[in-house]
Amino acid sequence: MDFPSTQFVPSRMMGTYEPIHQIGMWGENFKSIGNPSISASVIVEVDNKLENESETASHEMPAPSCKHDQEASKPFDKIQRRLAQNREAARKSRLRKKAYVQQLESSRLKLIQLEKELEQAREQQGLYIGGGLEAGHLGFSGVVNPGIAAFEMEYKHWMQVQNRQLGELRTALNAQISDIELRIVVENGMSHYFELFRMKSTVAKADVFYVMSGTWKTSAERFFSWIGGFRPSELLKVLVAQLDPLTDQQIFEVCNLKQSCQQAEDALSQGMEKLQETVSATLAAGQLGQGTYFPQVAMAMEKLEALVCFVNQADHLRQETLQQMSHILTTRQAARGLLALGEYIQRLQDLSTLWATHPREPA
């Protein structure tokens, strides 16, 4: 068990005491306590106070002169031992600091979630200008598209209902409710997703780029974005891993669904590439550098209309994937699947928040 080094005594604590006495007292306190864990917790308390004071306090020597007086009177090996103990204490302090910081980060996460909820409650009234729910997002500067503002409000509400439904699913799965009752919970969950696709379809007409950019979602969700949302095959992957045991017939059907899903996705992806090529070619037509280019831009806009169709098709694919899965699975499996999916999305959202607030080394 280690003694705290004299470095860890902040100058203010040496208040009414003679410096030498104070250091002696630290030593006395920890000699007399036989139980190492108690001493350790006292050390933590002291160190936490110190961390609150300043980062560098622990590395400073508040009273070099008194330490020097002490050292001069001690034999060499005792000096060496004291230095080794200092190093050890410093190392342990760093480890405790790391643990403390991790604790701080999870508390911050909680705080940000609470702030989010508060913001939601506050913004029920007026138009919400700007987009995104996590820190650091740049919203619209200036013109507010009413379709987008409406969607963002609806989506916030949608998320609240989603979280409530996940709670209901959890409760329902743990309770002994009948299959019929469970079916209702599942149907509600499915309808809720279909409602989102309807909302997206409406806002896509207002601004398809908004849907494509995924501005309304968190950053980690955007990382996985494919034509304005999740890849259906990705959803299947997450679901299936949670659904053991499946019957042989179910495994067969899920395999087929996975394959058809993948094929449909590939076809849409290639269609999107073709659309990019078309818009690019239209926009770049004629001479670049002439200065007048309105016809090209107007024509490119026409081509871009197709993007709405692609977004709708992608959502249709997501909806069909969910529908098919609900046909293949039993009610209980479907409930577990919906819960798994919902929680996976929550984890992505929490990841985004933690990432946004995680302190980084300066470049």
Binding site: E253, N256, L257, S260, C261, Q263, A264, D266, A267, L268, Q270, G271, M272, K274, L275, T278, K303, A306, C309, F310, Q313, H316, L317, E320, T321, Q323, Q324
Partner: protein
């Protein structure tokens, strides 16, 4: 109507498209993946394109293109084809027309 049905029945798998339609392209890619060579009619290149478009709308297609006919019968648009495929009904329908190289 006649021209449409004639074109639709001429070949096994027919896709009515427009030259700029990328969603139509996506459908042909899907058919290709499933081993089917589809015949594409670009109605904007057809002098009677307008008529064909009107007929397709009357037949119940929300958007005139893409309109997919298999074995002379209207399957529908992208939505119908995708739903059919995910529910496992598309491949059996295409089976007689699959040509693997």
């Amino acid at each position: 109507m006649d021209k449409l049905m004639r074109l639709a029945s001429e070949k096994d798998v027919v896709v009515f498209s427009k030259s700029s339609c990328c969603l139509c392209y996506a459908i042909t890619i899907l058919f290709q993946e499933l081993g089917v060579t589809s015949t594409v009619h670009e109605i904007d290149q057809d002098p009677e394109g307008r008529e064909i478009e009107k007929t397709l709308m009357r037949l119940g297609c929300n958007a005139p293109v893409p309109a997919i006919f298999v074995g002379g019968r209207l399957v529908g648009s992208t939505n119908e084809v995708m739903s059919l495929h995910l529910s496992g009904g598309l491949i059996p329908m295409l089976k007689p027309y699959q040509t693997w190289c």
